[in-house]
Each structure stands twice: as structure tokens, then as C-alpha cells.
């Protein structure tokens, strides 16, 4: 996630960095969410996990792997790219479209659990709900996030939250995962002092 660059001021002043979750913490949090999903869905029957790229996709696969390890239940996993449903397409240069892969059984009549790394404004989830509506008709939709940092701009909440992190608007939260970035960690970057 981008934070204000120090290009203007010289010498560049680095924002403060705080590690919120270490690698071991991330694993424990994923384990807990997997347990919560099993509990809340009575054994994850008729459930599909859909990860929102980039980092929601590996998180969804990890949750499915943990659910399988805990109870031997195989939950279908997919990827839902929301690029074409974003409400800010025109504010940026054209964004690359990523792959959307639905499980073979589809999502009709299923309980779909959307998985993302950070819940912030809620706009990504809004786009994901629109995309789901064009792909089929799930019985219900839930949301699992590794980190909820607040500052919602839409009436959206998560069903499963790894960690609530109170933040200031100018701060930024950066999630790294082994699959995409080489290591698991969640960091909070402070404001760049002016």
C-alpha cells in the first residue's frame, strides 16, 4: 500500500514503522479464523472461499488448507478479481485485469466467504458484491479479513476479523505474505512528518 512519498522534502524523512503481526501471529490468526468459520457455518457445508487478489487469494487457500487439516473437510477455493467493478477506474491509469477462477461447482446456492487482507473503506468489498451478482446467486455472502483498520466509507462489516487495528487515516497498513512477498508480516506505517 502506498504511503506519501518523501520526494518533496530533502533529506527524505522515513515514516515510523511498527510490526503489528509477526509471522507466527499471522499463522495463529489464520488458524483462529479457520476455526471460527467451522464454528459459524456448522462444519463449512456448502461453503466456498473466494480470495480477492492480490493477497486475499493466498489467504483463502491457507484457510481452506487449515479447515482441511482441522476437520478433514475440503472447501472449494476460488479467486475473484474485482478490477472491472471498481468505482475509481477513471481516476487512475488503466488497471490490469487479473484472473477470476470460480470453483467447478460454481457459487449458486452456496455460502460464499470473501477473503481479503485489509478491510479499509469497504469499496473493494462493494465491488466484489457487484461482481458476485453477475457470476451467480449465492445463498449468502460473508467476509473474512486478516486486518480491519477502520475508516469505512460504506455500510460494510466483516464476519471474521483477524485483528482490529485502530489507525489514523494518514497511516497505512501493509500486509506481506510468504506466497506473494516472501514473508508473513503486518506492518503499520505512521504519517510522514511534514
Amino acid at each position: 500500500m502506498a504511503y506519501p512519498s518523501a520526494a518533496r522534502s530533502s533529506p527524505p524523512r522515513q515514516p515510523s514503522v511498527k510490526v503489528i503481526l509477526t509471522s507466527a501471529d499471522v499463522q495463529r490468526v489464520v488458524d483462529r479464523i479457520a476455526h471460527q468459520i467451522l464454528e459459524k457455518t456448522q462444519g463449512a457445508a456448502d461453503t466456498v472461499l473466494l480470495g480477492i487478489p492480490t493477497r486475499g487469494a493466498p489467504l483463502a487457500r491457507r484457510l481452506a488448507a487449515r479447515i482441511s487439516a482441522f476437520e478433514g473437510i475440503s472447501v472449494p477455493v476460488g479467486v475473484l478479481d474485482i478490477t472491472l467493478y471498481r468505482d475509481d477506474l477513471r481516476r487512475h491509469a488503466t488497471r490490469a485485469v487479473g484472473p477470476t477462477q470460480l470453483p467447478a461447482g460454481g457459487i449458486d446456492g452456496m455460502r460464499v466467504i470473501l477473503v481479503d487482507d485489509v478491510l479499509f473503506s469497504g469499496r473493494t468489498v462493494r465491488a466484489a458484491l457487484d461482481a458476485l451478482g453477475d457470476l451467480g446467486r449465492p445463498a449468502s455472502v460473508q467476509l473474512a479479513v486478516l486486518v480491519d483498520r477502520g475508516h469505512r466509507q460504506l455500510p460494510i462489516r466483516a464476519d471474521y476479523v483477524g485483528k482490529n487495528i485502530p489507525t489514523a487515516l494518514a497511516e497505512s497498513v501493509k500486509v506481506t505474505l510468504a506466497e506473494t512477498d516472501g514473508a508473513d508480516e503486518v506492518r503499520l506505517y505512521g504519517e510522514v512528518p511534514r
Binding site: R90, T94, A96, V97, L135, G136
Partner: protein
């Protein structure tokens, strides 16, 4: 990102690959319950067609509509063009109507380039004279990649009336950018002497179709334009078909995996026999379906963001 798509040469390898990758995602929409994406809501695409066309115009129209853009179809027949309105005045009219993109087909080579100077929106060349047809080249490249898994290193024979073919020109430019090896095949009268070197270094010319077939991964047959038949580029239709037409025995000389392409419309029995056109090697129907996906990708990449 580029602003207009006027020529196969406008695309570097990265941009062309991005279009093909995006097209692969767009293709998934065709199999969905709701075959529509909201990405171009509120954008206006004008199809400006000064020449007859069915598949290209319908393909662009379907592509724009699947992306939720508003489409205005303009064909020269029955418009103010028949009253003598110039291309520039038509362009200014479209400009005033707020066209975000103009898809133009015109009998004059270079018309889309002129148009690009006159309108603020993006211009997509949908075929200009004997010059270029870049979205056809993109859909051909997409078809080759999805059938054969790659483009780099492929041997592609482009057979027929290269002299008058905008499809051939755009394909040579794009395919050489993407690392394929193109050989132009046809009677000497229909292959300009210096075209290979002028278009892309590494392009070969061969006047003997049978010599090229055993080493080709792709054979792309070009339409013999009937209106050229009387211009003495070749002695007779039968002689052309005998020497440069693709029939069953010739097709069986191709490698096992090779595919046969044709941009349509076909002259069955002239450049291609029904046996070949309807064989499993033929990608002709696939090309039409892929055309919509590729054009969706082009429109999205030109209009989807704030690229001004």
C-alpha cells in the same frame, strides 16, 4: 498505455501481451450468466463505418456493449456523407456528441491517422484501405496463442493477396513484435518486392506454397478479393486455386499440430476448400468469437482508465 490503436506497429511486445492477457479474462465473460461488465459505463463508442462490414462492426458493437458502453453506429450509407460531408466535418460532429472512442473503417489508407488529429477521444483503426487492421492481427495472435500455447518461435505462413491485404500487413508487424517468424506466400504479382524488409526484418517471401507447408505451425489464408480478379494479377481463378489454394492433400502435408486460419469472409473453393475450412484444424469460427474478447480488451485498455 497507448491512446489510439492505428497500426500493428503501435504495440510493443509488453502492450500486445497485456492486450492478449486481458482478452483471455474477457473471454470468460462469454460463459457467464450475466455477459456484461460495468467497466465502461457512461462511455460512448462510435462505430464509424465507411465500408461494408458485418463481422468487424458487430464484433466491436458486442465488445462495447459487454463493457456497458453506449454504442452509436454510423454507416456512410444513408448518412450526410452521401450529401458530400467530409471526414473532418463528420469527425467534428462526433466530437461534439462526446464520443470517447471512434472505431473507424475507411476505404482510404491513413484515414484513421487523420481522424486521430481531429478528435479528442481514442481512435481504433478497424481497417483502412489496403493499409492496416490491427484488431484482426490481435485476434489472430490470440487464436494462435490459445491453440498452440505460445507465439515466440512459431512459423506462420501468410498466403495470398498480400499486396492488397491490411490483415497481412498488421499481422506481419504484430507477429514479428511477438517473436513469430512470418513467411509471405503468393504469386509474385501480389507480393511487393520490398515488403518483407519494409515491414519487419526477418520476414521471408516464398512463391511456392508446397515448399512452406511442412515447416509451418500456422497457415493464414487471405481472401482473394474478387474485385481484383480482372486486374490480371494472376491468369485465372482456377490457376490461382491450383497453385495457392489450400485443399485436403495440401493440408495433410502440414505438421500434426498446425492450424489453418482465415480472416473471413471466405471464397470456398478459391483460396480454401470446404474440406479444409470445416476441418478441426480450422480456427475460422474461433477467430470470430475471439474477436469480441480481443476488442473488449482493446476498448478497456484505451478507455478504462484516466489515460489522458
Amino acid at each position: 498505455m497507448i491512446r489510439h490503436l492505428l497500426s500493428g506497429a503501435d504495440l510493443d511486445a509488453d502492450t500486445a501481451t497485456e492486450i492478449l492477457d486481458t482478452a483471455a479474462e474477457m473471454a470468460a465473460v462469454a460463459g457467464r450468466e450475466v455477459k456484461k461488465l460495468p467497466a465502461l459505463r457512461g462511455r460512448t463508442v462510435v462505430n464509424l463505418f465507411y465500408e461494408d462490414s458485418t463481422r468487424t462492426r458487430i464484433s466491436f458493437e458486442a465488445a462495447a456493449k459487454r463493457l456497458s458502453a453506449d454504442v452509436i453506429n454510423f454507416s456512410a450509407k444513408g448518412s450526410s456523407v452521401t450529401k458530400g460531408e467530409s471526414l473532418k466535418d463528420t469527425a467534428l460532429t462526433l466530437q461534439a456528441m462526446g464520443a470517447d472512442a471512434v472505431v473507424v473503417r475507411h476505404p482510404a489508407s491513413g484515414a484513421p491517422h487523420r481522424l486521430a488529429d481531429w478528435v479528442d477521444g481514442s481512435v481504433v483503426n478497424a481497417g483502412d484501405g489496403t493499409h492496416e487492421h490491427p484488431t484482426q492481427a490481435l485476434l489472430d495472435a490470440y487464436t494462435m496463442r490459445s491453440r498452440l500455447g505460445r507465439l515466440a518461435g512459431l512459423s506462420v505462413a501468410v498466403v495470398g493477396d498480400v499486396l492488397h491485404s491490411r490483415v497481412a500487413r498488421s499481422n506481419v508487424l504484430l507477429l514479428s513484435t511477438l517473436g513469430a517468424k512470418v513467411t509471405l506466400v503468393g504469386p509474385p504479382t501480389l507480393i511487393p518486392l520490398d515488403i518483407a524488409a519494409a515491414l519487419a526484418p526477418g520476414t521471408d517471401v516464398c512463391y511456392d506454397l508446397d515448399a512452406v507447408l511442412p515447416s509451418s505451425d500456422v497457415v493464414m489464408m487471405l481472401r482473394v478479393q474478387r474485385e481484383r480478379m480482372n486486374d490480371s494479377y494472376f491468369p485465372s481463378a482456377r490457376e490461382y486455386a491450383r497453385r495457392y489454394g489450400l485443399d485436403g492433400p495440401r493440408m495433410r502435408r502440414l505438421p500434426e499440430h498446425a492450424i489453418v486460419m482465415h480472416p473471413g469472409p471466405m471464397n470456398r473453393g478459391m483460396e480454401i476448400t470446404p474440406e479444409v475450412a470445416d476441418s478441426p484444424r480450422s480456427t475460422i469460427v474461433e477467430q470470430v468469437a475471439n474477436g469480441v474478447s480481443v476488442r473488449m480488451a482493446v476498448l478497456y485498455l484505451l478507455l478504462g482508465g484516466n489515460n489522458r
